[in-house]
Amino acid sequence: MKNKNLISINDYSKEEMLRVLDLAEEFEKNPTQAILNGKVIATLFFEPSTRTRLSFESAVNRLGGKIIGFSDSSSSSATKGESLKDTIKTVSNYSDLIVMRHPIEGSARYASEVATVPVINAGDGANQHPTQTLLDLYSIRKTQDTLDNLNLFIVGDLKYGRTVHSLLMAMALFNATYYFISPKELSIPQEYKMFLDHLGLKYYEHTDFKDIISEADIMYVTRVQKERFSDPIEYEKTKNAYVLRNRMLQNTKSNLKILHPLPRVNEINTDVDDNAKAYYFTQALNGVYTRQAIISLILGLKN
């Protein structure tokens, strides 16, 4: 995986994904190692993302690497009209690896084609965010001891959520059964259902999870954003159906874990936070180990 870009989750084979997870496990046991000594990692965030950027920077810092970059395009030359190509070419000269977040879809793939160092996509608009998917897989495997044959509940905005689409694709390698729970306006797009049909994987679509939650091994909750609704009345009517509360977890499987890519607004009530089934904050911590694994594999420091 040395020098291999990570732009889309589809860039990695099942074996490569599992290699990342195995290595992330090693980093969890020993997260502070000086293996990035003398390495410079560029974090180019053309749109703000506190969580992802800090997680990458924490991963690099704990491995002894140095960070250069910006956290917002207003502090880059993009405001002077510099093209993405020129920025990437220049930063390639200054760093060993580029981590990039950009609002334009496909920008990361393009950056990887003009860069002379490897590129990791930290989110390109609504398209891909592969390191999130790998940390989601890590969290699922860690809590279930397996990735195979799980009942995966995905709740919230299934139409626009990029983390949802990438997770769906990745879990298809492990024979998941999917339960899609969303308002009709934000249901899972046809192309993903065709993808699952093609593989012969089972999926169910629901507008409410109350009656089926007892089946869940993993419940992956995402934010339902008001601005996604064409009709604000529809939003008011449906929003409460997608809020998870502690009392709803009474008759659920003992191995159930609640995941959320964060930031959370109100779709998981804070009374869930102290339940042992709530896993979203640990999931965010797992992002550091997963990113340590990805960076050290791409730089050829581990294999």
Binding site: I104, S107, G125, Q128, E191
Partner: protein, 153 residues
Amino acid sequence: MDKDIKQLKVSAIKNGTVIDHIPAKNLFKVINILGLNRIDNQITFGTNLESKQLGIKAIVKISDKFFVDDEINRIALAAPQAKLNIIRNYKVEEKKKVIVPDEFTGIVKCVNPKCITNNDLVKPKFRVISKKDVSLKCHYCEKITDQEHMVFI
């Protein structure tokens, strides 16, 4: 008898290429894709001709022009059923069908307004995921552009 009338509609050429079975609505797309508006060869075309296969079709005859396969396969997106006759000395020397390529650059726009190819000086690039009702996956943003939404550059 019928055959004679058909021939009268678009005059014969001595040497060159005849492209038949172009969907009438895509004639000018085909002309653009092949750059026929920028060459000096004699070109005759007919459009809104009756066709059993397509309803109405268009036909283009280009004198003294012989395309290489890569050039001609570019029109596959606009005219997947097109047939080519290579004419030498008024006779059909060879017949060819267009082949829909597996991958290509340019020709059509990505349907996604937020795609880098619609926001920067990046040429669109696609993988063909269905050859029947041609449908394309963007190399950059990974969104699907189907035949209905294809806009030719």
